[in-house]
């Protein structure tokens, strides 16, 4: 009885909830030895497209190890945000270059 009620509630909730928003792609551009601004409103499943417009090779490396992208000059590379949380990142070659992604569930 309780199980049936729970199931009914669950299906009701499923009907009422809007479908999760489709993942979005955001660009973060690197130029003049610095990361450009990081987007707000990031959600799990969204994609960061790193664009290196600098003349130097850089990386986008998460301090928690969740991603490490090598970016030769003019390269584009994509990182899928797999988990919610705040991820600080930096360039392995130029550790003074830093940024932060804030990802909601």
């Amino acid at each position: 009885m309780a199980a049936a009620a729970g199931l009914a509630l669950l299906s009701l909730a499923a009907c009422n909830r809007a479908p999760p928003p489709a993942p979005k792609t955001y660009q973060v551009t690197i130029a003049n030895m610095a990361y450009g601004p990081t987007p707000s409103g990031l959600r799990t499943g969204d994609v960061i497209e790193w664009v290196n417009n600098d003349i130097f090779q850089h990386t986008a490396t998460a301090k928690d190890g969740s991603f490490d992208v090598d970016l030769p000059p003019q390269a584009h590379a994509r990182t899928v945000l797999k988990a919610p949380g705040v991820v600080a990142f930096y360039c392995r070659y130029h550790p003074g270059m830093t940024g932060k992604l804030v990802v909601a569930g």
Binding site: I55, Q57, Y93, P95
Partner: protein, 174 residues
């Protein structure tokens, strides 16, 4: 040995900033371009020596980065002077830089293993510090052309990052 290396690095740093400041007449853009380019060439030569002599992964990674970054900025400098129709002009600062760089290569050729790695890393710290000082006090303020000034400013950011990276490298080798 370490003391000697540190002294040599300090003497070199003094030579560089001293030479840059001692020039009675302010360097013109053609001389500034030559100094900046020469500073890059010297660091590339030092990195290539490290790539031949070192077996330490951190040192090799750092040296590869120096070759890559300084080549990139020097290529950009060459393209800029070509565009501006400026021929880089040799001058006493470039000459003293080159002489000091050559002397270092000769000194470090005698070292091997950890002694080489430490000497290279410590010198990279001192060298980038000295070049940053020259960029801040002389080269950037004296540059007339806006594009040259902007490239030198990018160079300063790059050299500052390299200095920090070299400090981390040197600290890790202790």
């Amino acid at each position: 040995m370490i003391r000697r290396t540190l002294l040599a690095a300090a003497a070199f740093a003094l030579t560089l900033s001293g030479a840059a400041l001692a020039q009675a007449a302010k360097p013109n853009d053609a001389q500034i371009a030559h100094i900046a380019y020469t500073a890059g060439v010297i660091d590339i030569a030092a990195a290539k020596q490290a790539l031949k002599k070192s077996h330490n992964k951190q040192v090799l990674d750092f040296a590869n980065e120096m070759v890559r970054d300084h080549t990139a900025v020097n290529d950009k400098a060459l393209a800029l002077v070509k565009k501006l129709g400026v021929t880089p002009q040799d001058n006493p600062t470039s000459q003293s830089l080159k002489a000091a760089g050559d002397a270092k290569l000769k000194d470090f050729a005698k070292l091997s293993g950890k002694a080489f790695d430490k000497a290279y890393a410590n010198n990279e710290v001192a060298y980038h510090k000295a070049v940053n000082g020259a960029l801040q006090t002389t080269l950037i303020p004296d540059a007339k052309n806006a594009e040259l000034k902007s490239l030198l400013q990018t160079g300063l950011k790059l050299f500052t990052e390299h200095q920090h990276h070299a400090e981390m490298l040197a600290a890790g080798l202790k």
